[in-house]
Amino acid sequence: MSKSLYRDVLLDHLRHPRFSGKIEPADRSASAYNPLCGDELELTLALEGNCIREARTQVRGCAVCVASASLMGELLQGVSLSQAETYGALFREAMTSGELSSKDIFSLRPLLEVRKHKSRVKCALLAWNALEECLQNFQTTS
């Protein structure tokens, strides 16, 4: 398949998004919106102490956006808030440099293909923007 952006992994996540939906009531939530294309998603977190017990995203967006949110969802279940923050920073760095500097986020590797298409990088980052906002809320309110 020459359509390299849409690797099997991404297509699988598109067809079967993991941890999609909304936790109600949620301990933390944040929405992210891409004004360029109208894509939007909502991330909801259920916490247990400093850990994410469950994370779910509700996405209305393109394949890259859906797959990225799904891959993020897989990573976030059961991790600490500070770990989640680290994942976010690592992923952003990887999207800039093209290199994965940590095995922890190896599952996000298929998303690096998106770097070739600058206009789509925002789609891949949308879920992570919502996570960042969730974590900021956490820091200011705790």
């Binding site: 398949m1 294309c37 109208g38 393109c62 890259v64």
Partner: protein, 414 residues
């Protein structure tokens, strides 16, 4: 369907005038089908701009030396060319701006801020581009005026009953597009403007998708204001036009101050020149105006009527093929006579960005998104659409190529 249909209203050889069309994108010849966003530039336009910089560059209206006078003359000739193209009664009614957006902002600011009182109404339509919507929101916010919208029908026409009931509320101005950038609908503005004027309502026309594609005659339309962009009519970016009736230009205050627009400047206050200078503060986009002049020459050589036929034929082909595609919803009028050469559609279950991305991998450039018309997309009940829009150089085979890729999109995603 063969490529050499009765469709060659404009010969394929026109493509040789456009250097960019020879590009190979993702191992395929570029099929540029995003002409509603911007058109490519013919060699004549590129050369006119280069020639200006190589032979005549100087600031306009400022020097007494030969070069400056030459630059001024070329700039004013461009204004004359635009006036002629739009059939404006007087050259002074043509104000150069950066584009349609700036032209509309100029009116919203200069006319709107001095004319509108709290409770006054402004009438827009649900199919306006953000450039003919946000400037009015800003002026409404500043003056306390209120916005109303003419509804759009399911098939993508302006709802004339809605228009009538909105005009009965006596808005100060109707801001309406001549051609929708999403639906392609050509609005019956001559009739609408007459009705608006019967109600004492001024009319601003967004002609960004119309100039060079359908006949635009400001005297025939009898519009109060009309705006368009150079870059959508084979000219350069950074140049646009506001046409206005002289009575409005005379009554309006400047919106930007600076060099070139003044009569006399004192320490505390200044007086202005007349239009158009009054609305053109600062060094104008001289090279871009010259490029626009050449672009309008190019369009006139082909003939707007010929371009219209060519684009309508291609739109009809695109429309016909898309309507046969499974899972595809096409927006806008079904009758090609009621629309220009752009067709927007949605493929159920696939985001428009993904459709556009797969098309790009075949070298086909189309636009996906809300096309700066979020109010309209809300009305249509979709987040985004894919838009195919043709220009003078597009061919039937390019339209076929684009639609053919949809099978691949379905294989990939559905």
């Amino acid at each position: 369907m063969p490529d050499s249909l009765p469709m060659a209203r404009i010969p394929d050889s026109i493509r040789q005038d456009f250097p960019v069309l020879s590009r190979i994108i993702n191992r395929h010849p570029l099929a540029y089908l995003d002409n509603a966003a911007t058109t490519q530039k013919p060699q004549s336009v590129i050369e006119a701009i280069t020639r200006f910089y190589e032979t005549s560059n100087a600031n306009s209206h400022r020097g007494v030396y030969a070069l400056s006078e030459e630059a001024s003359e070329l700039y004013e000739q461009a204004r004359g060319r635009v006036a002629q193209f739009l059939n404006a009664p007087d050259t002074h009614q043509i104000i150069f701006t950066r584009g349609t957006t700036e032209a509309i902002n100029l009116v919203a600011y200069s006319w709107g801020r001095s004319r509108l009182q709290p409770g006054d109404r402004l009438l827009l339509t649900e199919m306006e581009h953000h450039s003919n919507l946000v400037p009015w929101q800003l002026v409404a916010e500043a003056t306390g005026a209120e916005l109303d919208y003419v509804a759009v029908t399911a098939e993508g026409h302006l709802d004339l009953d809605s228009l009538a009931s909105q005009l009965a509320k006596s808005p100060k101005l109707l801001a309406v597009t001549l051609v929708s950038n999403v639906l392609g609908t050509i609005n019956p503005l001559r009739k609408i403007i007459t009705t608006a004027h019967d109600h004492g309502v001024l009319v601003l026309v967004d002609a960004a998708q119309a100039v060079g594609r359908v006949a635009v005659d400001v005297q025939e339309l009898d519009c109060d204001f009309l705006a368009f962009s150079g870059h959508k009519v084979y000219g350069p970016t950074g140049i646009g036009v506001l046409y206005a009736k002289t009575e409005h230009l005379d009554a309006m205050e400047p919106w930007q101050g600076g060099g070139g627009m003044i009569a006399k400047v004192g320490r505390d206050r200044s007086t202005w020149g007349e239009a158009p200078a009054k609305f053109e503060a600062g060094t104008p986009p001289i090279a871009a105006a010259i490029g626009l002049h050449t672009a309008l020459d190019f369009v006139e050589r082909l003939g707007v009527a010929q371009i219209r036929e060519h684009e309508r034929d291609l739109a009809e082909l695109a429309l016909g093929r898309l309507l046969e595609e499974p899972e595809v919803t096409v927006f806008g009028p079904r009758n090609p006579a009621e629309r220009t050469g752009l067709v927007s559609f949605a493929l159920a279950g696939v985001h428009p960005h993904d459709v556009a991305q797969v098309l790009d991998e075949s070298g086909i450039a189309v636009r996906a998104g809300h096309h700066c018309a979020q109010v309209l997309h809300e009305r249509l009940g979709v987040d985004a659409t894919v838009r195919v829009s043709v220009g003078v150089y597009n061919t039937a085979s390019e339209v076929h190529r684009a639609v053919d890729v949809l099978a691949e999109v379905r294989r990939l995603f559905l």
